[in-house]
């Protein structure tokens, strides 16, 4: 059972020495952090490694959290930098990260995970499939905006961008997502939309 304390209260307790409560913070944010990591890594194993690394880093730096932003915003900025470091470590250079074709391969070769879920294709499945084909930045911005309860300013803080830049990126990301949905589903997309 998860704690009813707020993030800030939990952090204060952890910093006061009740380290076991950090597990509650992890449980509270793990789904979102893992999803965000999936947007970058594109596979579960790597995403789990990134997400785990993020929580360890966050624990290590917990005392430096200034509480000037939401804990989630601070945590997502760690996810972003960790994921980018991870991608760099995998020797995917910046050009190829920006190259949409890199991620088009996912479209051509569905993973075993996709095939397993194909039987239970739902609306969210089609959307997630389209999101997987987006560039990591686009996918992360959409996920943070719709699922992370983050404002444009907060997303900007997490990604180190201006709120206006995030707004433009969000608009473009939604456009691309819409196009991918339409292309993937063809006639089905029309029904979905």
């Amino acid at each position: 059972m998860q704690s009813k304390l707020s993030d800030i209260e939990l952090i204060e307790q952890v910093l006061a020495g009740n380290q076991a409560l950090y597990a509650d913070l992890v449980k509270r944010h793990q789904r979102f952090v893992f999803t965000l990591a999936m947007r970058f890594a594109k596979n579960r194993e790597d995403a789990e490694e990134i997400a785990q690394d993020c929580f360890v880093k966050a624990y290590r730096s917990l005392s430096s959290f200034q509480q000037q932003s939401k804990f989630s915003t601070w945590l997502y900025s760690i996810v972003y930098t960790t994921a980018m470091t991870f991608l760099r470590k995998r020797r995917i250079d910046t050009d190829s990260i920006d190259d949409e074709d890199t991620f088009m391969q996912v479209e051509d070769k569905p993973s075993a995970y996709d095939l397993y879920n194909a039987e239970n294709k739902s609306r969210s499945f089609y959307l997630n499939q389209a999101i997987e084909q987006l560039l990591p930045d686009d996918a992360a911005i959409i996920t943070m905006f719709y699922k992370g309860e983050q404002s444009l300013e907060e997303i900007g803080r997490a990604l180190g961008m201006e709120a206006n830049t995030v707004k433009v990126k969000l608009f473009r990301a939604r456009q691309r997502l819409k196009e991918k949905l339409e292309r993937n589903l063809k006639h089905e997309a029309k029904e979905l939309i």
Binding site: Q19, Y22, A23, V26, K27, Q30, R31, F32, F34, T35, M38, R44, A47, E48, A51, Q52, F55, V56, Y59, R60, T85, K89, R123, S124, L127, N128, I131, I142, T143, Y146, K147, L152, K167, L170, F171, R174, Q175, L177, K178, L192, I193
Partner: protein
């Protein structure tokens, strides 16, 4: 079309001023193409908001806590040593050195001529202080002890650096 979509997305996201919002509401009500586009984008927005989050493995929280526990166990010796121990070692060396110098001064033969005669014999007969073998042994052991501490400190520092490099920090 992009401008229309951008305006409508701002309207849906609630990023418009009250005046803009009123103007767009009017347009949606009066213009068929606006209304169609608005409905399309609104449905899409609702779909995006309904995206399901992925679930990590069951052992995820446990793995995170274990990783933290392991990391804490690896905390370098430097940060876990009580500062009093360091102070104690420093005091030990200071006292040893003081005793050593004091004993050396005490053992010195001060009976030799105080000042050499500039005209006469300039040779000064200063006897080497008589240092007992116990003091020599103690000084040698102290020196070795200091070297061992220094070696352990440097070894710990290099291990820490390697560990940080491994973690990519």
């Amino acid at each position: 079309m992009n401008n229309v979509e951008e305006t409508l997305w701002n309207y849906i996201d609630g990023n418009c001023s009250p005046d803009e919002q009123a103007a767009i509401s009017k347009l949606i009500a009066s213009d068929e193409s606006y209304r169609l586009k608005y409905n399309e984008l609104l449905a899409l927005s609702q779909e995006f908001a309904a995206i399901e989050l992925d679930e990590p493995s069951m052992a995820f929280t446990y793995n995170v806590i274990e990783a933290i526990r392991k990391e804490e166990a690896l905390v370098p010796l430097k940060s876990t040593i009580n500062k009093r121990i360091i102070l104690g070692i420093a005091i030990f060396f200071a006292v040893t050195l003081t005793l050593f110098v004091g004993y050396a001064l005490f053992s010195m033969d001060w009976s030799t001529p105080q000042l050499p005669n500039f005209i006469g014999n300039l040779s000064v007969d200063i006897q080497a202080p008589a240092i007992s073998s116990d003091v020599k042994k103690m000084a040698f052991e102290g020196f070795i002890f200091f070297d061992v501490i220094l070696a352990l400190f440097l070894f710990d520092k290099s291990l820490r650096r390697k560990n940080l490099q491994k973690q990519g920090l």
